[in-house]
C-alpha cells in the first residue's frame, strides 16, 4: 500500500507542550499545501493531565482516522497507557523518546515499532534554554518534510513577536539538526499546492457557522463537553450579526429560550450532548406539538449517563429518533464529515424553518473537536423559508390543515394574527381539544408535513455502484469512504450509502439507491446496533443485512470494516 498520509502523535504530561507542537504542525502543514487533521486526547484532568496530539498529513482531503501511528514522539511516558487503546503502533511505526524520561513501556516496546532515543531535554538546554517540546517540533517537522519556514511563520503568529519565539526557533533548529541523520519514515508524496480555498476549522465551529449561514440569529445553551465550542463561536459571532446569545441556567431553560425566540420569528439553535439532550426532550416535544422550528445539535460522546464525556460514540441515535413522549415526528440528521457539519447544520435550519418542526443534528466528539485543514465548501443555498403570511385576512387559524400540511405562521407584532401556540392537542385554530377527530387530524398533519416533503438528493450520499452496500452515518462515513477508495477489489464491488437525513425515513429514495445491491453491511459506532435496528424497523430491505457495530471511544477504522466483509465472504 502506498503511503498516502503521515500520522504523528506527540504525547506528554500536561504542561509539557504536546498540544502546542500539534497545533504548530497542523498550521505549518497548511502553509505548505498539505491537507491535515488534528485530534487531541486527554485524561480526565483539567490541567496537568497527560495529553496526546495527533496530526495527520495528506496530499488529499482526509476522511478518516489513520490506521496506525507513523511517528510517536513521547515527551515523557507518564500515563501513556491511557492512550494505548487509541494508538496503533506496528512495525511501520517509529517511536522517539528521551531516555532521561525512563525506559520505553512494555506495551510500546512489544508493538514492533522502530525505536530511537533522542535526548530532548539535553538538546533543549544546549539550544539556549528552549523547551523540550520545541526540539520535538523540529524533529517532527524535519521527519515530515515540513519546511523550517512554515514552522517559523506559524510560531511567530502563535507567540506574536514574544521572546518565546526566538528561543522556540532555536529549539526547532536543534530538533531539525538532530533529525537530519534519521531515516526510516515512509513519507507520503508531497502535496501539489492547490489554488483551491482551504480553511482550518473544527466540526463544532463549522456547525455554528452553518447555523449562521442559514439565518440563525438567536442561540442559547448550557456548557457541556464536547459541545461547548459550538456555543462559544455563536456567542462570539451573534452579537456582531445583530443576534443574541444567552448562557442559560440549564438545558431545560436553553431549549425553551430558543423555542421562545423562534416563536418570535428568529431562527434559533442550541447545542448540547447526551445528558443535556435528555433534559431537553420534553420541550422538544412541545416544539413538535406547537409546531415551532428549532435546531438542537447533539455532539455525541460516550454513553450511557455521564459516560465518557471527552470521547466519541454514535449512541444517541435512539434517543434522537425515539426519545419524545407520544407520537412526535421530527427531523434527525447527521453530518458525514467535519466539513459537512457546515452544510448539514445549514440544511437542518432550513428544513426546520420550512416544516415548522424541531431538527436534531447528531454530530459527535470525533467531528466536533477535530480540526481539519480542508477545502472550504462552496456556499449552498436552500430556498426553504418559514411560511409567514404577509398579512392576515379574516379569522386566522394557526394550525390550519393545508395541502402540504404546513400552516402559515404569523409572528408577534402582526395585527390580526394573534393566536396561542399550544402544547395540548388542539383544533385548527389552536383551541385545546380532546376530540378524536382533532387529534387524528393534527397527528396526520404533523406526520405528513415531514413524510410528504421532497428532501431531494441531499438526504444521503451514494458512492460506488458495487453489489455490497455499506450503509452508515456520521463520523463513521469517513472510514467507509476510505475503504471504498482503497479496496475496489471486493467481490462485486462496494457501494457506500451515507445517510444525512436519518428521520423521517425515505423508503423510495433508499430503494433506488439499493438497486443491484445483494447484501448490506450496516456500520455504526454503538454497542446496541441502534442504527441497524432503526433501519430494520423503518425500511423494508429485502436483501441480506448484517450489523457491524462497536462502541467508542476508539474510532472505527476502514480496516475493521474490511475485516467484517472478509469474514462475511468466508462464512
Amino acid at each position: 500500500m502506498i503511503q498516502e498520509r503521515l500520522s504523528i502523535t506527540v504525547a506528554g504530561s500536561g504542561g509539557a507542550g504536546a498540544v502546542t507542537v500539534g497545533n504548530t504542525l497542523l498550521e505549518a502543514a497548511g502553509l505548505t499545501g498539505w491537507y491535515a487533521r488534528l485530534t487531541r486526547s486527554s485524561g480526565p484532568q483539567i490541567r496537568g493531565g497527560e495529553v496526546a496530539a495527533t496530526v495527520c498529513l495528506s496530499s488529499h482531503p482526509i476522511q478518516s482516522e489513520p490506521t496506525h501511528c507513523d511517528l510517536l514522539l513521547a515527551l515523557d511516558w507518564k500515563n501513556i497507557s491511557r492512550f494505548a487503546d487509541e494508538m496503533v503502533l506496528n512495525r511501520h511505526s517509529m517511536v522517539i523518546s528521551d531516555p532521561a524520561q525512563g525506559a520505553v513501556p512494555d506495551s510500546i516496546r512489544d508493538s514492533g515499532a522502530h525505536y530511537l532515543a533522542m535526548p530532548f531535554k539535553a538538546l533543549a538546554a544546549q539550544a539556549g534554554g528552549a523547551r523540550p517540546n520545541m526540539i520535538v517540533l523540529g524533529v517532527a517537522a524535519q521527519l515530515a518534510g515540513l519546511s523550517r519556514k512554515s514552522v517559523e511563520q506559524t510560531l511567530e503568529k502563535t507567540f506574536h513577536g514574544d521572546r518565546r519565539f526566538v528561543t522556540g526557533m532555536a529549539g526547532v533548529d536543534a530538533g531539525i539538526a538532530a533529525a537530519l541523520p534519521v531515516n526510516g519514515l515512509d513519507l507520503p508524496s508531497a502535496p501539489t499546492p492547490s489554488r483551491a480555498e482551504r480553511w482550518s476549522i473544527t466540526g463544532n465551529q463549522a456547525a455554528a457557522l452553518g447555523a449562521l449561514r442559514a439565518g440563525v440569529r438567536f442561540a442559547a445553551g448550557y456548557p457541556i463537553t464536547p459541545a461547548t465550542e459550538v456555543l462559544e463561536w455563536l456567542a462570539l459571532a451573534l452579537p456582531k450579526l445583530g443576534g443574541e446569545f444567552v448562557q442559560a441556567e440549564d438545558e431545560l431553560a436553553a431549549v425553551n429560550q430558543i423555542i421562545g425566540a423562534s416563536f418570535g420569528g428568529v431562527p434559533a439553535i442550541t447545542a448540547t450532548s447526551g445528558p443535556g439532550l435528555a433534559l431537553m426532550m420534553e420541550s422538544i416535544g412541545l416544539a413538535v406539538a406547537a409546531e415551532v422550528p428549532i435546531v438542537v445539535i447533539d455532539v455525541m460522546r460516550g454513553g450511557p449517563a455521564t459516560g465518557i464525556p471527552t470521547k466519541s460514540e454514535q449512541s444517541d441515535l435512539n434517543i434522537a429518533i425515539h426519545g419524545l413522549p407520544g407520537d412526535a415526528p421530527h427531523l434527525v440528521m447527521a453530518p458525514t464529515s467535519v466539513n459537512d457539519c457546515l452544510d448539514t447544520t445549514h440544511w437542518a435550519v432550513k428544513l426546520s424553518e420550512w416544516l415548522q418542526v424541531p431538527a436534531i443534528v447528531l454530530s459527535n466528539q470525533a467531528l466536533g473537536q477535530t480540526r481539519m485543514i480542508d477545502n472550504k465548501p462552496a456556499p449552498r443555498e436552500w430556498a426553504t423559508e418559514r411560511k409567514v403570511p404577509d398579512q392576515v385576512d379574516g379569522a386566522y387559524q394557526r394550525y390550519q390543515l393545508t395541502p402540504d400540511s404546513v400552516s402559515p405562521m404569523t409572528l408577534p407584532g402582526m395585527p390580526g394574527g394573534q393566536y396561542t401556540a399550544e402544547g395540548l392537542e388542539h383544533d385548527e385554530s389552536g383551541i385545546p381539544s380532546v376530540r378524536a377527530r382533532d387529534h387524528l387530524h393534527q397527528l396526520d398533519k404533523r406526520r405528513n408535513k415531514l413524510a410528504e416533503f421532497d428532501y431531494g438528493d441531499y438526504w444521503a450520499d451514494v458512492e460506488g455502484a458495487g453489489s455490497t452496500a455499506i450503509i452508515t452515518w456520521g463520523a463513521t462515513v469517513g472510514a467507509a469512504r476510505e475503504l471504498l477508495a482503497r479496496s475496489p477489489e471486493f467481490d462485486g464491488g462496494l457501494r457506500l450509502i451515507a445517510l444525512r437525513l436519518l428521520a423521517p425515513e425515505q423508503p423510495g429514495p433508499m430503494a433506488k439507491m439499493l438497486r443491484g445491491v445483494k447484501r448490506i453491511l450496516v456500520v455504526e459506532q454503538s454497542h446496541g446496533a441502534q442504527f441497524y435496528r432503526y433501519l430494520k424497523s423503518g425500511y423494508d430491505l429485502s436483501v441480506r443485512m448484517r450489523s457491524f457495530c462497536r462502541p467508542g471511544p476508539v474510532p472505527i477504522l476502514a480496516v475493521e470494516i474490511a475485516t467484517q466483509l472478509q469474514q462475511w465472504d468466508s462464512s
Partner: protein, 282 residues
C-alpha cells in the same frame, strides 16, 4: 373609576372569545380582568403583547386573551418568555401561571429570571395549591393543610415566601395584588409592565374548589401601609415579617435591566468566516 381607559383599545379588545375552563368563583377570573384592564390603560396594541404560560389552571390564561400567546410545558414559561423577549425586544412580554408551575417545577427559572433581569413581567396566580391536578400541596401551601392524600396531615413545611425569594435572587420590582380587586391589581400591573427589567407580581387568587378557606382572603387583603422601598435590606425585613396580605408595590430597585446585544449588524458573516481562512501558501 380609577384607571378607566378612554382610548382606542378597550378592555374588551384584549379578551378572546374562548370560554375559560375555570370553576365558578375561581380567582383567576379576576386576574384575567386585571390584565385586560392594565393593557387597556397602557394602550399597547394586542398584537404587540405576548403572554407566555406553563401548565395549570392559571396557565390557561393566554388563550383567554386577545394577544399572542404560548401555552408551553409545565414550569418552563420564564425561559420561553426570556428567549422571546431577547429575540424581540420591542414586544410587551408577560408571563402568567401558578404557584406550582412557578415555584415547584419552575423554581430554578424563577431564581434565574430574577437575577437576569430581562424586561418581562411575571404574574403568579398564587392559590397555594395545584388546582389543575385536583388539589395537592404547592410550595406556598400552609404546613397544616391536610386536604391532599399526597401529604396526609399537611406538608409540614413552612411555605415559601415568593417575594422574599425573588428579592434574594435579585429581582428589582416586587408587588402583591389580589384577584378580588381587579382594578387595584390592574394598576399594579401597569406599574410592573412599565418597570424596566424583570417585575414580579404575586396575585392572591383563591382556588375555592381545593382551598375553600381562601374565600376569606377577600376580607384579609389590605393596602400596604408604607410606600415601596428602594432599599433591599428594608424590603427583606418587611417581607419576612408581613402577614402576606398587604397588597401594593413593595420594592422597586434600580438595577439595570439585562442588556440585549444591539440589533445592529456590525460585521458581515463573510468577514467572520475569514477567521478560518488559511493564509496564502508559502
Amino acid at each position: 373609576m380609577k384607571g378607566k381607559p378612554s382610548h382606542a383599545f378597550s378592555t374588551k379588545c384584549y379578551k378572546s372569545d374562548i370560554k375559560p375552563i375555570w370553576c365558578p368563583g375561581c380567582g383567576d377570573f379576576g386576574v384575567l380582568a386585571s390584565i385586560t384592564r392594565a393593557l387597556a390603560i397602557l394602550q399597547v396594541p394586542p398584537e404587540e403583547v405576548a403572554v407566555v404560560s406553563g401548565i395549570g389552571c392559571s396557565s390557561r390564561i393566554p388563550a383567554y386573551l386577545n394577544a399572542y400567546g404560548f401555552h408551553g410545558v409545565h414550569g418552563r414559561a420564564l425561559p420561553l418568555a426570556t428567549g422571546l423577549k431577547l429575540a424581540r425586544p420591542e414586544l410587551t412580554v408577560l408571563v402568567a401561571g401558578g404557584d406550582g408551575d412557578g415555584f415547584a417545577i419552575g423554581g430554578n427559572h424563577f431564581l434565574h429570571a430574577c437575577r437576569r433581569n430581562a424586561d418581562i413581567t411575571y404574574i403568579v396566580m398564587d392559590n397555594q395549591v395545584y388546582g389543575m391536578t385536583k388539589g395537592q400541596a404547592s410550595p406556598t401551601t400552609e404546613p397544616d393543610w391536610d386536604l391532599s392524600q399526597l401529604t396526609p396531615g399537611g406538608p409540614g413545611m413552612n411555605p415559601f415566601l415568593p417575594l422574599l425569594l425573588a428579592l434574594g435572587s435579585g429581582a428589582n420590582f416586587l408587588a402583591r395584588a389580589s384577584s378580588s380587586d381587579p382594578g387595584g391589581a390592574a394598576d399594579i400591573l401597569v406599574e410592573a409592565i412599565r418597570h424596566p427589567g424583570f417585575s414580579f407580581v404575586q396575585i392572591l387568587s383563591p382556588c375555592l374548589t381545593f382551598q375553600p378557606e381562601q374565600r376569606k382572603w377577600k376580607k384579609m387583603v389590605r393596602p400596604a401601609p408604607v410606600k415601596a422601598t428602594t432599599d433591599p435590606v428594608r424590603a427583606a425585613k418587611r417581607l419576612m415579617t408581613d402577614d402576606n396580605f398587604f397588597v401594593g408595590v413593595l420594592y422597586q430597585g434600580e438595577r439595570d435591566p439585562y442588556e440585549e446585544s444591539s440589533e445592529e449588524v456590525t460585521c458581515k458573516l463573510d468577514s467572520l468566516e475569514s477567521e478560518f481562512q488559511l493564509p496564502g501558501l508559502l
